[in-house]
């Protein structure tokens, strides 16, 4: 695995996080922030960037210290590293972006247990060198942020008739309230995922996983 990864180019390594191994649509990881905070585009971007920050620094540290951490205690060790960066992100959000921090609520601390982060640390960072792990983390972070933006956009437009807080339709539009309620999150993501599968199958029939 390590050898293969080294030979792959940096661009492929980055791009795989966005399409082929997209953390949300393909790997179906980190669902709780994906569903919970995507009531608007702004929330989606905020959550995506916070997660990317934690992901990048955690994988960097994990791939640097992988040689000295005993195998049995690796998960607690990485969890502490991740929790530290989440605390930093949480304090920064609270200090500089109080409204965003308030609307993300308990989902900022929940980045600690986002499967994408532990997943990348376990599956990639502990088997590869820091440089390529950084690229992998950036790609996954970008893929995650983009997915949150798309989902947030669909739900905000249908659920509140606005995009980034700017109303799109006239007075006559009655928003589909269900889209910003919990069921709307599941339905939107399910349908988007099917669309993603269909598009992928059309362009690249070999890669689709059933």
């Amino acid at each position: 695995m390590a050898d293969v990864a080294v030979h792959r180019s940096i661009t492929t390594e980055f791009m795989k996080g966005i399409v082929r191994d997209n953390p949300v649509f393909v790997q179906v990881l980190g669902m709780c922030p994906v569903l919970a905070v995507t009531t608007s585009v702004a929330n989606g971007i905020g959550m995506g960037l916070a997660t990317t920050f934690v992901l990048v620094f955690s994988t960097l540290i994990a791939s640097t210290v992988k040689g000295v951490v005993p195998n049995q205690v690796r998960i607690p060790v990485y969890a502490v590293v991740i929790a530290t960066f989440v605390t930093i992100a949480d304090l920064v959000l609270k200090a500089f972006f109080p409204p965003l921090s308030a609307s993300l609520g308990p989902y900022v601390p929940l980045i600690v247990v986002n499967c994408i982060i532990m997943g990348r640390v376990e599956a990639f960072a502990t088997r590869n060198r820091p440089g390529i792990s950084l690229v992998d983390a950036l790609g996954m972070g970008a893929g995650f942020t983009l997915s949150l933006m798309v989902l947030g956009a669909v739900r905000e437009v249908l659920g509140s008739g606005a995009l980034l807080g700017v109303p799109l339709f006239g007075e006559g539009f009655s928003p589909m309230l269900v889209m910003i309620l919990p069921p709307g999150a599941f339905l939107t993501l399910g349908i988007l995922m099917a669309v993603f599968n269909a598009v992928k199958a059309k362009n690249d029939p070999v890669l689709i996983r059933t």
């Binding site: 709780c32 998960i75 600690v112 986002n114 999150a185």
Partner: protein
């Protein structure tokens, strides 16, 4: 009475999976068969109840007592990770069959958002000791209920003719959406 309200609220009204979206990974990953869904639910309920108790003690007698609230996330995750490690060793020793069924998802209970959410929400809502324990247990039961219902539906879906693009996670999410709609019917049953 207040404990009963907390319990019902945690099980159905504010079901963790269907209203707060926590614990979605195992909810989607381990809901193919009713048996494994049930064991996952029980493992989560067990870890959740203990977590609620232990993190309450840590929050009140260490973090608040010594003015260290910024260590909240780090200390919670350490407690949860050690608990899960313990449960994993216990199951491996006592029931290898169960251990094989839960497979990769057992260590992943550590990264099950629902467990950390229990710890966070009891600190946020400033619950009492017993209330916090009841909420942890109720949340676990609610998770079990949701994942078992889901597994029941998915066993039926196996034989259904689903369009190709919807197969896998997509149809599962849509099913979860309809389930969440049904659970919204419980809104207003309790005020909490």
């Amino acid at each position: 009475m207040i404990y009963l309200v907390t319990l019902i609220s945690a099980i159905v009204v504010n079901n963790f999976v269907l209203t707060y979206f926590v614990g979605i990974c195992p909810f989607i990953g381990v809901s193919k068969k009713i048996d494994s869904a049930l064991s996952m639910g029980l493992a989560v309920t067990f870890v959740m109840t203990i977590t609620a108790v232990v993190t309450w003690i840590i929050n009140h007698y260490v973090l608040i007592a010594f003015g260290l609230p910024f260590l909240e996330y780090v200390s919670y995750i350490v407690v949860i990770a050690s608990l899960v490690q313990f449960v994993e060793m216990f199951i491996k020793k006592t029931s290898p069959a169960l251990y094989r069924t839960l497979g990769i998802f057992l260590p992943l209970i550590t990264t099950n958002c629902a467990i950390l959410f229990v710890a966070l929400i009891q600190a946020m809502r400033e619950l009492g000791f017993l209330e916090s324990m009841v909420q942890g247990f109720g949340a676990g039961v609610g998770f079990t209920l949701a994942i078992v219902i889901m597994a029941g539906i998915r066993e039926q879906l196996e034989v259904a003719d689903i369009p190709k693009a919807f197969r896998g996670a997509a149809i599962t999410l849509i099913t979860a959406g309809i389930l969440a709609l049904a659970f919204m019917g419980f809104t207003g049953l309790t005020s909490a």
